[in-house]
Symmetry: C2
Subunit: 440 residues, 2 copies
């Protein structure tokens, strides 16, 4: 869908919304379906080829609306109000278009925290079952979680929130967590009386898109009875392409897995997807059942109460945008999108490689290129400062061991070869000027 | 704004969005403003009278856009991508209109958790400063938080996640937490060697919209050096009306305060507002500063990094919808909205009181009426079942002490006296049929 079609469809949607709200009194306020009704109405896989927008819109009334509790019907007197107004909806439309991430990005943070809390509960219960005299506090003091020294800061933060130790495992020359280093830490800590309970493997680190060695680390976690969580926030979207699927080898060892479709799968922020091998591990950590939230289906197994899977109680109807996107692009369209980005990052990589003043710092696997001027960190910090204060393009840095490195991430839905070429010329020109100034 | 105007403005917004994205390359990718630029451009208070939509739209380019980092510019190569596509935007428009809350409602849960974690960190650091030999785990074992037996389940859940004890204080005859009961629990627990650190006061409980006695409980918390958090998720919106402001007396004792504009202030879900008395109490509990998130202003005090205030790193640009709503309604419009709902709940209350078969269970203060048929819980459960299976209106129950009670919450933006009257006739008819069946 291009902007021309969006103008047309957007206006139709505005009318659909106004019609919906004008006529909401006429709809039964509470749905007349059984849990699971949806399963028979939708296919079990995303479409390979894009579908038409008309198909989707037809399905709104046929598939979605019959299952909706109309919270804005004037006959809705349950719970408390949930607000709705036209100005707020207009602002949200604009918010979706601007699509900025306030101060930072990612809700993989919450997934990591949720997994850590579930693992903590599971381990404490196991140990207390064997030794009922041990208190939760006494056990928590001994629990240790592990992650690579390249993991996202949100992993350390999850440990802080969960009140347990988090240790960083030194990564290898490719910034990957390997078996030997993990095993060494586990043995040392167990010998000291500590209790390993949780390992986070990152597939596609934020700093340099490196991959922990899942095939090595996974079996160790399983042998040790330690929860394995995979954070694939960025790289996860690429796994819809068969040629990148090898990066996921060993996923069968994981207890939980997360990636963010709102990063690289064309679903506007926020949308973070999490899988867990055994759902009761999560729900037993969070389950609370007050009367005003009870319902007749809660023990039937027919429905999944996601409020037991997460920190907040409420959630927006976010699957709607995944459904629109999967259908409008089809798996093939989404694969083409990922491939285009990866091609552009390799194009940028080869431009950098042609200039002997620069070096590529890590293997380019997906859409991120880590590069720097050969020379001091100060030189590269100055270059980055010049790039960002020119405001023509926007980059952020990372630190790899003791080196200050520039990150070129292919981001925009509309980025083309021409933009990458212009960006490179711009960087090269600024580099020339920075190097000239240094010599003087 | 009515649906007629929304049709017009929505279509204009669709064009604005398409124009914005079509022309995004032409905008500087990174803003050319200093932190704080916004302060001088916007008034210090919300407008009393509604403004025109034209005023707001004019301000988008004048006030908002100069501060935006254009994440979807093809010259944005920073961080990782954040997804954007037209189908996802269309789905989000529809999601806003449906405005349903998945499985439950409220993000006050996260505010309570964040406050509890901050209080936990603060207390542990204080105690360790005095006695450095005490471990975190040894202290956590002794920490106790308190809340009324009428508090939302999310408070107990916050304790579970935070790994600390939570105790329920018995409320009085009006379902309000009072000084005597709290003091008794504190004294008993301190005598047993425990360490009180956190109290949650609820203003407007979910079950029956009761109010804890803040003027009694507040001073105790301050004397004891215990963090006081106020959960006013629902009732908080009403405090914009001077006549309801007395319910907030004692707020000066609080360390943190939360309410949900997405409940009752016309701002679509999700939007939860939290204040904290001393910001460093929060930020010191959560602060993490990896290189890729560092920026030149972080120590200047000019900007507020909300990623240190919350569980997820990222957040949507939610203030935009508050800004639209405050301006389009004005304080007066918002007050009129609250007053209308309160008037409707009193109207329902008087209908119930006129029918001697029913009883009102708690004082009606805002938009919630708790009522029941005089008689057994079974009778009332049957009535509720009949009401909800007829699907004409939707209600949920609560349990007050040993009584099963029906909650009539005035919710919809478009609810009028006629809907309340019809709802009551419907309830009365079903009650007659239930009572008839019971006699037979």
């Amino acid at each position: 869908m291009d902007s021309r079609e969006f103008r047309r469809r957007g206006k139709e949607m505005v009318d659909y919304i106004a019609d919906y709200l004008d006529g909401i009194e006429g709809r039964p306020v509470y749905p007349d379906v059984e849990p699971g009704y949806l399963r028979a109405l939708i296919p079990t896989t995303a479409p390979q080829e894009p579908e038409t927008y008309e198909d989707i819109i037809r399905d709104i009334e046929k598939i979605i609306m019959p299952g909706v509790t109309h919270w804005h019907s004037p006959y809705f007197f349950a719970y408390f109000p949930t607000a709705s107004s036209y100005p707020a909806m207009l602002a949200d439309m604009l918010c979706g278009a601007i699509g900025c991430i306030g101060f930072s990005w990612g809700s993989a943070s919450e997934a990591t925290l949720v997994a850590l809390l579930a693992a903590r509960t599971k381990m404490i219960r196991q140990l207390q079952a064997a030794s009922p005299e041990l208190t939760q506090a006494a056990l928590m003091e001994k629990l240790v979680a592990y992650t690579s020294d390249q993991a996202h800061s949100s992993v350390e933060r999850a440990g802080l929130i969960g009140g347990v130790k988090i240790k960083a495992i030194p990564s290898d020359g490719n910034y990957s967590m390997r078996a030997a280093a993990l095993r060494e830490a586990l043995e040392r800590d167990k010998a000291a009386g500590l209790i390993p309970f949780f390992v986070v493997v990152t597939l596609g680190t934020t700093s340099c898109c490196s991959f922990d060695n899942l095939l090595e680390v996974g079996p160790i976690c399983n042998q040790e009875g330690v929860w394995l969580h995979i954070d694939a926030a960025y790289a996860g979207s690429a796994f819809i392409c068969p040629e990148f699927r090898y990066l996921l080898n060993g996923v069968e060892f994981a207890d939980s897995f997360n990636f963010n479709p709102h990063k690289w799968l064309l679903v506007n922020f926020d949308c973070s997807a999490m899988w867990v091998k055994k759902r009761t591990d999560l729900t037993e950590a969070f389950n609370m059942d007050p009367v005003y939230l009870r319902h007749s289906h809660q023990d039937s197994g027919l429905i999944t109460d996601y409020r037991h899977w997460q920190i907040p109680l409420g959630r927006r109807f976010r699957s709607l945008k995944m459904w629109f996107v999967f259908r409008m692009y089809g798996v093939k369209g989404l694969q083409a999108y990922i491939r285009k980005h990866v091609k552009l990052s390799h194009e940028f990589e080869s431009l950098v490689r042609q200039d002997p003043r620069f070096e590529i710092c890590t293997e380019v696997i997906l859409g991120l290129v880590c590069f720097r001027l050969k020379g001091s960190n100060q030189l590269n910090e100055t270059l980055l400062q010049r790039i960002n204060s020119a405001k023509k393009i926007h980059l952020v840095p990372c630190r790899l061991r003791d080196k200050f490195v520039l990150r070129f991430a292919v981001c925009s839905r509309t980025v083309e070869s021409a933009h990458v070429q212009l960006a490179w010329e711009h960087i090269r020109d600024l580099a020339s000027s920075v190097l000239r100034a240094e010599k003087e």
